[in-house]
């Protein structure tokens, strides 16, 4: 079983976001980048599959040169191959990125394609299902459990207050939710082994695509703003629990109108 894991590199979730002078992007100066947290579950599942059934785990990312750092991290954890499609994510919309990834996936042998359920940061939750449609594969989104059988996958999909069990033939696209597994850390041996692997680098043109397929401006960012700074509201002393409870109920009833 061969799998492809598509990853996004995103600002560390602990970082404070600053807006760049153009007012349309974030200021990347001094920002620490990480593999998007949901992609870690995707990668872990692919590595476990490889450990059970052999095969390759190819990690794939679209983005500027800094994404190679994220690909290296994935190799250190147990991915066996890495492919970087060069391009500026800020100029491409989700469908543009999906087209680049779909074209790249076609160049790699695979039975299943994993994504995180969303890239933490842009929070679009779009690229995985778009790739599924472009490749005419079935998709199971927001997955908390998977089992692979003979030419098929059975997955649990999380929906509001319930869980669906979905079966699809392979190849299929699976997007990972927190809870799918417990991702491992990279071992020293893994880090050393990863250094020997060459990251395959391709341009959009190498994949037979035009820049206009990718940077088509279907969606453009007009402006990016920080939310208004909240100064905090009223603060009361809760030493008298009963009095505090009455005060909260008054607020809930009169201000929130929720009682």
């Amino acid at each position: 079983m061969n799998s492809v894991v598509c990853i996004a590199q995103v600002p560390d979730t602990e970082s404070r976001i600053k807006i760049a002078p153009d007012g349309r992007r974030i200021d990347e100066t001094g920002l620490k980048f990480i593999v998007s947290p949901f992609d870690e579950y995707a990668l872990e599942e692919a590595i476990r599959l490889k450990e059970k059934q052999a095969g390759d785990v190819t990690v794939l990312a679209f983005g500027p040169d800094r994404v190679q750092q994220a690909l290296r991290e994935c190799l250190a954890r147990g991915a066996t191959k890495a492919l970087h499609v060069k391009g500026d994510t800020g100029d491409a919309d989700a469908l543009g990125i999906a087209k680049a990834l779909a074209a790249a996936i076609k160049t790699v042998p695979h039975d299943v394609v994993f994504f995180g359920k969303q890239g933490v940061g842009t929070d679009n939750s779009l690229v995985g299902p778009m790739v599924a449609e472009l490749l005419d594969y079935p998709q199971v989104n927001v997955v908390t459990h998977v089992e692979f059988g003979d030419g098929k996958v059975t997955a649990h999909r999380e929906i509001e207050g319930a869980e669906e069990t979905i079966e699809c033939p392979l190849p299929a696209v699976i997007t990972a939710q927190k809870g799918l597994n417990e991702p491992r850390y990279a071992s020293l041996k893994g880090i050393m082994a990863a250094k020997k692997i060459t990251i395959d680098i391709k341009s959009v043109a190498d994949l037979g695509l035009q820049d206009t397929d990718i940077f088509n401006q279907r969606v453009t960012v007009v402006s990016l703003e920080l939310p208004p700074e909240k100064s905090g509201g009223r603060k009361i002393d809760g030493a008298d629990a009963a009095a505090a409870a009455r005060e909260i109920v008054k607020y809930v009833r009169e201000e929130a109108k929720a009682l």
Partner: protein
């Protein structure tokens, strides 16, 4: 090219709240952009209700079966081909978020995800969407025709504004789904999902141990709300991740958010600070959660939360 097409999700013969919200803002967009508000549903019995929400036409694929992305994307593509809308809206439910990207890839369209503001301006759809889990807001323009957007639950009021049933147009969908739905399980019967709840009561590390989540559950049940949780409690295994609010959990914007024993790590604040009314209970007066709280109570949650639950029950009884 005119009008607004909305994916109308139904449950037990009723239109779901997220779809009512999408229809409501869709009606306003249709007024601005020209053309009619139209819907697509799998259940024709909601035609009258859809009409009340402002829909002139409701496309219905009665043979389509339960939701699966491949068949529903094919159906919506078929409807979009017939109705030629300028805008396609989907409520940001699990299914709406699953369907929008698949459909957009079919239509070669741009998508604005999880938007909390929408307007039609200069012949284009302009949307505001929280990014970096609410640490910033992006205003985007969708330049494709149609323009696709998913609406954030609770961000748009569900106002009715039509009269008479929507005209039903039956369609037949030939597409087959490779994916099959085998089963739907409701694991925690009666538990509300935080994604669409109007009221959320969240617990944090201040609860000290898993068993104390019962205090949070009791208050949530008394208020008719959902149970939320900080990442620390989920990572400690005190509660299932479905309850997690924040950057690697769910970003929520309920009417009322009560946080007890949640200090307010940056990624938790990002996930809940757009809630309309925020109450925080914490023993540390310097806890960051108080920066976003409208009402902050400095005190012992083990005293205050049970007292509050009793007070809520009393208020409801009167």
């Amino acid at each position: 090219m005119a009008g607004v097409l909305v994916f109308v999700e139904t449950k037990d013969g009723k239109i779901k709240k997220v779809s009512r919200e999408a229809l409501s803002i869709g009606r306003k967009l249709a007024e601005a952009a020209g053309g009619d508000l139209i819907g697509f549903a799998s259940d024709r019995s909601v035609a009258e209700d859809a009409g009340r929400c402002g829909a002139k036409k409701l496309y219905v694929a009665a043979n389509i079966g339960p939701y699966l992305p491949e068949t529903y994307a094919a159906a919506m593509e078929q409807v979009a081909g017939d109705a030629q809308p300028s805008v396609v809206l989907l409520g940001g439910s699990s299914n709406g978020r699953d369907l929008a990207p698949r459909l957009a890839a079919k239509l070669d369209a741009g998508v604005a995800s999880d938007v909390d503001r929408l307007e039609w301006t200069g012949g284009k759809l302009r949307a505001r969407r929280p990014v970096y889990s609410g640490k910033a807001f992006a205003t985007v323009e969708v330049n494709s025709v149609p323009a696709v957007a998913t609406t954030r639950p609770n961000a748009f009021p569900a106002e009715e504004g039509g009269s008479g049933a929507a005209e039903v147009v039956e369609i037949t969908v030939d597409a087959k789904s490779k994916a099959k739905l085998l089963d739907t399980k409701v694991p925690e019967a009666g538990e509300l999902s935080i994604a669409e709840a109007d009221i959320i009561v969240s617990g944090g590390r201040g609860l000290k141990e898993a068993a104390n989540f019962s205090l949070i559950r009791d208050l949530a049940h008394a208020l008719g709300g959902a149970v939320g949780a900080s990442r620390a409690t989920v990572d400690a295994g005190w509660i299932d991740h479905q309850h997690q609010v924040g950057q690697t959990g769910r970003v929520v914007s309920p009417n009322l958010y009560i946080a007890a024993g949640v200090s307010g790590a940056i990624q938790h604040l990002a996930g809940m600070s757009s809630s309309k009314h925020i109450v925080a209970i914490n023993k540390d007066p310097e806890a960051p959660i108080f920066r976003v709280a409208d009402l902050g109570v400095v005190g012992d949650l083990f005293q205050i939360v049970p007292a509050l639950t009793e007070e809520v029950k009393r208020a409801k009884a009167n």
